[in-house]
Symmetry: C2
Subunit: 430 residues, 2 copies
């Protein structure tokens, strides 16, 4: 596919470019990248895909996910964060074998592709993290992942490691996978959260991320009890801890950021900390509602993620987009989170959170061909005078027809091409 | 179909009966009703439908919808209730022809069936309300509807009628449609809301509903500005107005009920007022979040509805169930709205709201065969140790495979059998 040209004809192109251009037209792909897009392109030698009844959008970006947890879907209900971790999630993660972890990652990516997500940032797992990279490589997903780091606190014995050994394992994975397949896979250091890390480990992570030129991915200020424990241990807030220990020297991406104060928000803006917003998970665990309109007004970059399947319980970007809009409208009024803003959070702003906004996140010449083709004329989504309202509020994951990453089809006519879905389901269903 | 027996074999039956029984088994249908259900039923003469990989649930009940508004989907964004009505919805409703209204109702019911809703209570329209009943009759939907009543206030001229003429038209429709097709269709009086009705009209509605033994369906306490206007006009609350003018003498079903005080809630309980909860619409219009856990604790009956497509923007019960759970968990903690409770709101409690709980809302012998068959083994919804978590949080509308109302298939293998979907879409798409 990469060696020849593919011409997409007559789709409705939702570009997510700077001007938010939307137009009916053609899009030419060559060498895995968008070679041109225009109302009409003629190329007699290109293979043609007709898209008359389709919307074409940039592949969706989810900046906070847990591949390792998908196998625990529908098994951890009605719990708050810390109880949920201690009773269900930590024991589950500790019990993973390479085989069960492989299934969990495959199941996740199958669902991501089927719902139009082409790029993820995954926060990894303590043990067997190499398996996650292998599955990402095999399936064609664009991803950042990293070994999860825990060397302190209340986690189960099997998850608490020596900091130095864990860092060495991280570096080995980084050296093997960072930049793999022409930059499709990247590495990020992944301390679980402040409460599961020693000061020594956190400091070293900051130094290593800077040295290797990679980002850091963690959780922060998700839950009031967590925030209180951090304050008790450090006499400062989550955000202050990250800054104080030097982790803001590298690109720092923090999931949740619900319970932040004015000082935290100034630090977030000053250090360009990326907020990874997970609205379903935040509601389901009773954590709260992040102050997203305030972050956006301050110029803090916000993007979206489904978080883990056991606190969602699905991984669809459509669910997260809809909820990200609705919860703010309900609290702050109907103008507080317009559909086009939410569409940007799930595309170009997600790409920016990962440092990939020159590569993906919008339909523009030179960008990688990560594309999602969406059925337009469904009884549940017509009419569609406002195309962003359609995408955010009326479209669902089953409307996704084809998906392409790096110019390669990963789903065509809703059939996954890099994962054997039938075999996968047969291994997991109860 | 009604004259012979149909045997559903080996499905996972989610009964929503008093004990919330869930078991793998068979279900026999005869004369449009559930004749038996048991782990194993043998009936060599019955036609058999195999359901090995399917969940079978009672047809979902949505107690507050607007068939007339579906054609205005994706056209009224970022507005609060009163501006949304004045700028978009009232002009739209006033402009309906019988033909456009027919399309709107067909589009609604196509979407309801495709997402597993088999019973609706629709709040009608001022003009051409007979068209709604005709479409309901033709499509096989189980429904309560009524001519919408407006004789007062700020609505456009075309929607404000003489009270007596409007009541006579209501009675004519009631006499024609109430009880149609063996009770599949019922009538309810439908005053839009207190602000669009004279005291005279409201009082007469109460008297007529009592006289004819039918219910009343209205909106109340959705928005703070609306509540303030009611207080200004009547020197009492919405709920008090309904009670004071005698509308609680008939079964009274009120959409929204977000902004109620202690006295209102006591009146609601004392008069068995049914709350029709519309979480998506309440958030999207910036109205607020209804105090549902408090209502449930008081023994007030709560059920769910998608409301109108222009304030949602879809009509899926799965969207409403998920949101009904999540918004309460986010505000009141993860235990505040368990999945089985939400499943009841969308099935048996919806039936109770409509006075139909002896007929529908659960899988029990003697009840009408309103059934929904849901694909179980999808990558986005496995594993499923907790089957209610699966239904509320992981399942989506596209997982609905077959739908039956009154023992008659209205959708089989996702093909609608009473609506020509292709023709319908071709008339509506832009």
């Amino acid at each position: 596919m990469k060696s020849k040209r593919l011409l997409i004809k007559n789709g409705l192109l939702i570009t997510a470019n700077h001007n938010m251009d939307v137009f009916r037209g053609d899009l030419l792909i060559e060498g895995g990248r968008i070679a041109s897009l225009a109302p009409r392109i003629d190329d007699p030698e290109a293979e043609i895909v007709y898209a008359d009844e389709l919307l074409i959008v940039p592949g969706f970006v989810q900046t906070h996910v847990h591949l390792a947890q998908t196998l625990f879907r529908n098994s951890a209900e009605d719990l708050s964060l810390l109880g949920w971790l201690e009773k269900k999630i930590w024991p589950g993660e500790a019990s993973h074998t390479p085989e069960s972890l492989r299934l969990s990652a495959q199941l996740s990516i199958a669902e991501f592709f089927r719902s139009g997500t082409t790029t993820i940032m995954d926060i990894g797992i303590v043990k067997h993290a190499a398996v996650l990279f292998e599955v990402i490589a095999e399936t064609g997903m664009r991803a950042i992942s990293g070994k999860m780091l825990m060397d302190y606190g209340d986690g189960p014995e099997a998850l608490i490691e020596s900091g130095d050994a864990a860092l060495q394992e991280s570096i080995d994975l980084l050296e093997k996978w960072h930049g793999y397949d022409n930059g499709r896979i990247h590495y990020a250091f992944a301390p679980r959260f402040v409460l599961s890390c020693s000061e020594y480990l956190l400091k070293e992570i900051g130094l290593l991320a800077k040295k290797y030129g990679v980002g850091i991915h963690s959780h922060a200020s998700e839950n009031k009890s967590e925030v209180a424990l951090v304050e008790e241990r450090f006499k400062m807030s989550n955000i202050q801890v990250f800054e104080h220990l030097g982790l803001t020297e590298a690109p720092l991406r923090l999931a949740h950021c619900i319970w932040t104060d004015e000082n935290d928000r100034r630090l977030m803006r000053a250090n360009d900390i990326k907020v990874l917003h997970c609205p379903s998970a935040n509601l389901k665990l009773g954590s709260g509602i992040a102050p997203i309109p305030d972050y956006l007004e301050r110029g803090i970059n916000v993007s979206l993620g489904a978080d883990g399947a056991p606190c969602n319980n699905n991984l669809s970007i459509f669910t997260e987009m809809r909820l990200a809009a609705l919860i703010q409208k309900g609290l702050h009024g109907p103008e507080s989170m317009p559909a086009p803003t939410v569409f940007r959070l799930a595309t170009i702003d997600g790409a920016r959170a990962l440092g990939l906004d020159e590569q993906i996140g919008s339909l523009e010449v030179g960008k990688k061909a990560d594309l999602v083709f969406i059925k337009r004329n469904q009884v549940h989504s017509i009419p569609d005078e406002n195309i962003y309202a359609k995408l955010i509020f009326s479209t669902n994951e089953a409307d996704v027809l084809h998906v392409m990453v790096d110019g390669r089809w990963v789903m065509k006519e809703r059939e996954l091409l890099t994962i054997n879905e039938e075999e996968l389901v047969s291994k997991i269903k109860l």
